[in-house]
Amino acid sequence: MNDLTLTVSEFVALVNQTLEYAYPNVTITGELANFRVSKNRWVYFDLKDTESSIKCFGTVYQLPGPLEDGIMLAVKGAPRLHPLYGFSVNVLSMTPVGEGSIKKAAALLQAKLTAEGLFDAERKRPLPHPPYSIGLITSAESAAYRDFMKILNARWGGVTVTLADVQVQGEPAVSAIVGAVEQFNQLSAPPEVLVITRGGGSAEDLQAFSTEQVTRAVAASRIPTLVAIGHEIDTSLAELAADQRASTPSNAAELLVPDRKAVLRQFTTQRAHLNHQLSRLFSSSRQHVKTQARELLNATEHCLVAASQRLTAHSQLLEAFSPKRALQRGYALVLRQDGRMVRSGKQLQTGDELGIHLIDARLTATVKQVTIE
């Protein structure tokens, strides 16, 4: 194959054939430089290290999120020689690598989604407490799944949990999680709450939960969401987009359902409170009745005293009309032997015994003669 004479186009085709045969695709790690987006569709950038730099070309759909020069990227792509613009790598996928770059990329994405309002407090919906049904998105093999179920069942019973068994790290995680969220949302009888959870891990392990796709899927879920990722200090973007976040899978279960023992204790307290209220009501009613009884007594007594005073007055008045007054004026009372007053001479006969009352003496007399006038 020495001394080949080719046209330019023939040469380009030959090089591309050779490259495609030798390196159908490669993953190259390097620092992002000269990043720019054209027509909202095409992405151009350089990937470089201390000594070399290569051009890369892709579309915005392959972006893991907003990027910035200086970020370390792992770019998977196909090396190509472009007929006009020279050598470049046609990007298939790109991911930030290394703790610093992952955080940087996440920070950029967070700023973008924050500006869009995805994390606004007003968007947060309350979760049903306790829910009747839960859609659980996690790996069936994980400790997160076991911890969540253990705490959930220990605290409360009777909740239907539907598991979407997904990979929670690595490349397939993003589309698996997004797919599970969408599937639950499309159910005719969707669960009352979606729980997306996994245990702690390195920034790279947890990367799926800070991707734009997962974060948007969580934010778009019509079913209220609870996202609980690991024990890390840093919060993933999916957690920020969720209606509620929890620190661990166990914590998620604790937030979702009350502790039945605590509820029972509360009932006891409430019962005691109710009893107390009732006895207070009784004693205040009793007090009221006592007061009323006293008032009744006072009123009656008052009535009796008034009656008694009136009677005394009447008695004195009557005394003023006593026959004694007449006796004092010199009249005398004439009584028959049986004590009845003599009102008429017709009542008397000669010889009748009479009693005569004077003011200061009582006399006995015998009728000598009766002359009717």
């Binding site: 009884a293 007594l297 008694s308 009677l311 009557l318 009309f321 026959p323 007449a326 009249y331």
Partner: protein, 62 residues
Amino acid sequence: MADTNYQTLNAELEGILAKLQDPDIEVDEAVVLYEQGVKLIAKLEKHLTQAENKLTKLKQNA
């Protein structure tokens, strides 16, 4: 007459007192009225005493 209530007895007594205040009243009638008045007062006093006793009993029970 023992069954008659306080109000009726009192009204009767007041009637007697009114009659006794008539300046033209006969001595005999005055005496009769007086006797009736004394009897009524005795009855009224009895009524009042009974009422007071009843009240005292109720007070003790309260």
